[in-house]
Amino acid sequence: MTKTKTAEMTAAAETVRGNIPLLQKSGEHYLDNAATALMPQTVLQAVANYNAETRANVGRGLHNFAEAADEQFAQARATVAAALSAKNDEIVFTSGATAGLNLLANALGQTVAKNGAVALSLGEHHSNIVPWQIAARRGGFAIRFFRLAPNGAADLEEARRIIRGASVVAVAHAYNVSGAVNDISALAQIAKENGAKFVVDGAQYIPHGFAAPEKLGADFYVFSGHKCYAPNGIGVLWGRKKSLAELPDAIGGGGSITEVCEKGFSAAEPPRRLEAGTPPISQTAGLAAAIAWMQNIPQAAKENARNLAQSAREELAKIPGARVLFSGGGENAPNVPIVSFVVEGAHPHDCCQILAERGVAVRGGHHCAQPLMRALGISGCVRASFAPYNNDKDLRALVAAAKEAAHILRR
């Protein structure tokens, strides 16, 4: 890489960093972005503006505040839809990816035959496993898992075998431990050949690039706001209009109906049918602002984050006793900037604690991916996840602290 290119990337990252108030106040090396990304000033301001200037509920009131809230809410939906190359009425606001997946498991679970199956990959987050297990317990169907390839992405050959006969396939777009990006189009094709509904968990992918779920072949796609610079408590469930309309009832309440009488109810059209109760309105303002902010992140800053992750992989692997999980990167194995590693003989929480004491914020444990941990033969690992506001100082602090942790903890 040329010096000019490096300088361009560094400058871009510093510009993005300047947008994050928390990083101006603190010297923390924040590398826990895959858990929660930090909020830029524009997002903080958007949330504050909604609460200060409109605040009202949506879809109900006739007064001025309510009309302003309705306008803001509709605009947020349109912003999300445009980012996903989707239509407005295909966007359902939820409280997060987990809520979206629960909703889908509750609804789609009703369509799976007793001797049927749902196919998942072994790399899934618990939020894309447990809701299906709950639905399976109720419906009496099976859950089948396909393994990951050494690069950390789904093994497509095994996926083809496991998906055969399944009614639903649910898979992450990018994994929260390996960081590998799945070939969603290929998996969608396999699901389609089997007549299965195809659900994609985009929680770890969307922070690094907007997907066009329809083009990818998904039937449903979910993601969380808090991982893409938006507030907590907001998420998105995208579904093809027909797929959303065909979902069996799984949630109900105010706003989700056209009429209720003692004998029953008539459901509203999606998306409101799936947004029972008061939605997370201020969070949608934050999400729309976050999306607008993300659309302006310079490409060089995104590249910088990927390069930092790759350098972290290389530098961490040199530490005696440290082992980087998954091969990462490469043209044939695209990755989001996530690096997971273990220090042999050391518990991930002890590593994280030592890193935290040195101002490096990373995540340790099973990362809500216990089936994957079991497949890897470990109880947990340490994960560093990069964002476009991270810089070389963050990388150097990570590597130095990891060296110290390995020195202190190796038994």
Binding site: H347, D350, Q353, E357, G365, Q370, S379, G380, I408, R411
Partner: protein, 157 residues
Amino acid sequence: MQNKTPVNLYHEEIMALARSGKNAGTIADAPSAKKTNALCGDECVIAVRFAAPSGEGGEGGGAATVRESQMRIAEARHQTRGCVLCVAAAVKATTLAMQTGGGMPLCELLIGFQKMMRGEGAVLPELAIFTPVIPKKTRRTCVLLPFEALADVVCRH
């Protein structure tokens, strides 16, 4: 070391305890209790062998009428899959179980330790090595896990 309150979480005594392998293992047919830390999946099993108090547990001497909680702890072992803090705490818990012999002294110690770790009670001299953990709320569970397993097995039997 004993008289000084440590400040570093991974101080020498904690590391030495965790590395010691002391009291690790199982006891055949002994009462045991298992605790799991939901945050990280760490597990600790504490097993305890009770011996009847002298004069009450002899041959034909009505051992069956003696409550085990009133009996002396003859042996305590732990099987721990956990972090440094959890393993060190398991060593300490099993050691103290044998040193106190169980009964009220152990119960008081366990209650006192819970309070100490919540930052509500006095620092117990025999458990002062865990003082640096008190401000780290998330890590308190790591230390308390073996003590809770010990409390379970002692109270249940």
